[in-house]
């Protein structure tokens, strides 16, 4: 039988070993009487046991002669074992002129829990422990199918919860990404001339002479708006300047799937 003591130690009465739960390399072997004594204390956790009763159950019932000195020695052995595994708190309490009492949080490790523990993560094992009976006296709880199913159900539910949270997070992230990465309307369709769509470079209403200027440059550069499907991007820059006036026109020819095949860029600088 295995017990978890104060959530961080495992006592295995069959192999007579006390092990640190998170580090199986840290363990202390116990003598047979100490093992029987600890089992008795665990079974009667939080209950004061009188010395004679302990001696009777741990020694006399196993055919050994009763000895109070032996009891004290093995209590000492147990305390040292706990101390060597880093348990600061005194969990075996001496009750003066009466006996001893164990004050610890004890969880029995049932077979079903052990089998699940191998498959599950730490968080699941914690849930499983909580779900198993918290009282030491229930350590004989059988590993029934129902119990196994219950633990599996908890495991499944927690998996579903994690997945649901993940999905929510992903949805929010993707929504944000879509929002920020969505294309802005950088250009504005102002006019058409034959098969030519004429755009201004900013998404603002262009000046009144925009179309006239664009049409003039289309003609000057000999752009064919009758036979070809073309997007034209036009802009006048610094038209009130004496110098550095720029007329810009990009002519992009589309292929059959409406992607640009190539773009010709014309610039007139005066």
């Amino acid at each position: 039988m295995k017990y978890i003591i104060n959530l961080n130690m495992v006592f295995d009465s069959d192999s007579r070993v006390l092990t640190l739960k998170n580090d199986i390399n840290l363990s202390v072997g116990l003598s047979k009487p100490a093992t029987r004594l600890l089992s008795e204390l665990i079974i009667n956790n939080n209950t004061t046991l009188i010395r004679d009763e302990i001696i009777n159950k741990v020694w006399v019932e196993y055919g050994f002669s009763p000895s109070k000195a032996s009891l004290s020695n093995h209590i000492s052995e147990l305390r040292k074992a706990f101390e060597s595994l880093g348990l600061d708190k005194e969990i075996i309490i001496t009750v003066p002129r009466t006996g001893f009492r164990m004050e610890a949080e004890i969880h029995p490790v049932t077979k079903c829990y052990e089998s699940i523990e191998k498959k599950s993560a730490d968080e699941i094992d914690k849930t499983a422990i909580d779900e198993t009976s918290p009282l030491v006296n229930e350590h004989t709880v059988p590993c029934s199918e129902n119990r196994l199913d219950a633990v599996k159900k908890i495991t499944r539910m927690s998996n579903v919860g994690v997945l649901a949270c993940g999905l929510c997070l992903l949805t929010v992230s993707l929504g944000g990404a879509f929002f920020f990465m969505s294309d802005k309307d950088n250009v504005r369709l102002v006019s058409t001339k034959g098969n030519c769509n004429i755009y201004s470079l900013k998404n603002i209403k262009p000046t009144s002479d925009f179309i006239e200027n664009a049409a003039k440059m289309i003609d000057t550069e000999g752009i064919n708006c009758r036979d070809k499907n073309v997007d034209i991007y036009y802009a006048d820059k610094r038209q009130d300047n004496d110098l550095f006036r720029v007329s810009f026109m990009a002519v992009c020819y589309k292929n059959t799937d409406y992607h640009y095949q190539y773009c010709m860029n014309y610039k007139l600088v005066k």
Partner: protein, 157 residues
């Protein structure tokens, strides 16, 4: 369980699509033909260049310009590559761009003075603001703050 698997599949497809979009947006090749008629300081300059621009993932790129520039009747061959870095500025949608170096091919004939005055957007090492926006399905509009540079067609493979 089926619902979860279907949802996960949808999200995986969506992520792939977004990654593809983002990736293709930031690493691509774009081509354009540049024709300019410049009349300044009693000079007439005719530019006819083919531009290949390559944007890399890590905010780097190169612009290869091949063609000719004619100044006052004298024609010069142009074969130069500008390497630049581009990084976001404080203004949304506007980048800070620096030409880091230039590679001049042996066939290049254009005098440095003409190149800097009429063709190169800025001298090497000087930071300037630029804007890059998608137009239509595969067009990229490149602009400086006060001058449109060109619209190129992204080469899609």
């Amino acid at each position: 369980m089926k619902k979860i698997i279907i949802s996960l599949l949808c999200i995986a497809i969506l992520c792939s699509y977004l990654f593809y979009r983002y990736h293709s947006k930031h690493s691509f090749r774009c081509d354009a033909q540049l024709i300019s008629h410049i009349e300044q300081s009693n000079s007439k300059i005719e530019v006819n260049l083919h531009a290949n621009i390559i944007f890399m993932l890590h905010d780097e790129g190169s612009l290869l310009l091949i063609g000719s520039v004619t100044k006052d009747g004298k024609k010069y061959l142009v074969n130069r590559t500008l390497f630049f870095t581009i990084r976001p500025s404080e203004l949304r949608g506007i980048n800070k761009t620096v030409i880091t170096r230039e590679e001049i091919n042996k066939s290049n004939e254009i005098p440095e003075e003409v190149w800097l005055k009429y063709i190169s957007p800025e001298v090497s090492g000087v930071e300037f603001y630029s804007e890059m926006n998608e137009v239509n399905k595969n067009g990229m509009l490149l602009e400086m703050l006060s001058n449109p540079l060109f619209v190129c067609a992204r080469v899609e493979k």
